[in-house]
Amino acid sequence: MNRSAPTRHDEAWRYSDISAVEAAWPLAAPESIIVPAGGHFARTILQDTGSIHQLDIAIGKGATTAIHVLNIGGDYGRVELNITLHEGADFKLGAVQIGGGTQNLEIVTTVTHAEPKATSSQIVRSVLAGTATGTYLGKVAVARDAQLTDSVQSVKAMLLDRSATANAKPELEIYADDVKCAHGCAIGELDAMGLFYLQARGIAPADAKKLMLQAFVAGVFEDAADEEMLTDAALKKLGELV
């Protein structure tokens, strides 16, 4: 199996830094995790060096998994999750990516509801400055038998400069007919009136921006075992951008 490196024609690598991917190719096999029936698995992924993380997780019957991602470092950083949910399983993703300069950061998830009654949620927040690119590709696939699937996806990106780029692609592929799959996506700028309000009360421009961005990413790391570390690292990175 000596597959060649992906190109822009591969949908899952469409916005990637292809030369960085080629330099890293061939990648090690994805880390494979099997969460046994009724079990619980949690993982924090802090991508702060410019690397590619690939995880395949199969979540057994009635098992739960929570993944928290902070994607902030290096010229090119990618976190890719392939999740398979069995009956009644639950998957939660809380992800933040923050990029400036010429960084290219991406998070790619494929969540497959293979059996009935599983639940999944993905919350992704991106903050991008300079000429950075932040991408989230989020596919939710619901198999024909996976009735009573309940899936929700919330994707938001904040551009601090008009020269930054956010790509967001929610993708639903549903073969069952009794499912709930909600998704929302928004890309915007900091509210100018909000910033002025904070400044008119005495807060310096950079601190006002930081306060609003902190609010933008707040909550994503709630319940994470490493909540404090993730929040501190995110705030530090935000401080470098404003």
Binding site: D191, G194, F196, Q199, G202, I203, A208
Partner: protein, 247 residues
Amino acid sequence: MLQITNLHANVGEKPILKGLTLSLNAGEIHAIMGPNGAGKSTLGYVLSGRPGYEVTEGSVTFHGNDLLDLEPHERAAAGLFLGFQYPVEIPGVSNVQFLREALNAQRKNRGEAPLSGAEFLKVAREQAGALGMDMDMLKRPVNVGFSGGEKKRNEMVQMGIINPALAILDETDSGLDIDALRTVGDGINRIMRKPDKAVLLITHYQRLLDYVKPDFVHVLDNGRITRTGGAELALELERDGYKELAA
């Protein structure tokens, strides 16, 4: 305290203020009244430094220093407070966090030591209590889900906590019911009616002036002060209207 001389300002390309001159001394409360579009809110925004409001001519000094040279947050630290006509909602940022950060940023700018969490909460509790605002509301995100009246009350709580030398209150009375109007009026008197402070009340109606007695009333029309008088001028305006007065 505040000296505005021949102030001209544009919003975008459009001239709004066209040679406004006004002087406020410590201990005085001034009311500015005028028809829609006269430039009342623009005056508040120009004085507080809102981006997009460009001064093309004239000068403003505050405590003898050039105000227009300062950034909005520096104007706040110098003692200027703008009460917003439409207070802004800031999801995710709690009132308490926002106000503590604002107050301490101002104190830092003035070379004063920051207040601790406990010290700040004591001040916040006093001010919220005096204005009949629940502490729970102070813990909620800034203005999010507040009614129009609650937002205005929150502006007054902020003013009480920040304790400015000069308050410019832009239609703080609009959207208030009769009881809330009295509470807000009492708040303005309690916080700002002091020998070392001054207030510029921007309002459409005489109502608020029943509670907060102005020392001077000015009529702003087409970007200039066209008439100045005492508290009785507001009553005259209420009776006769701006049109009659201009004639």
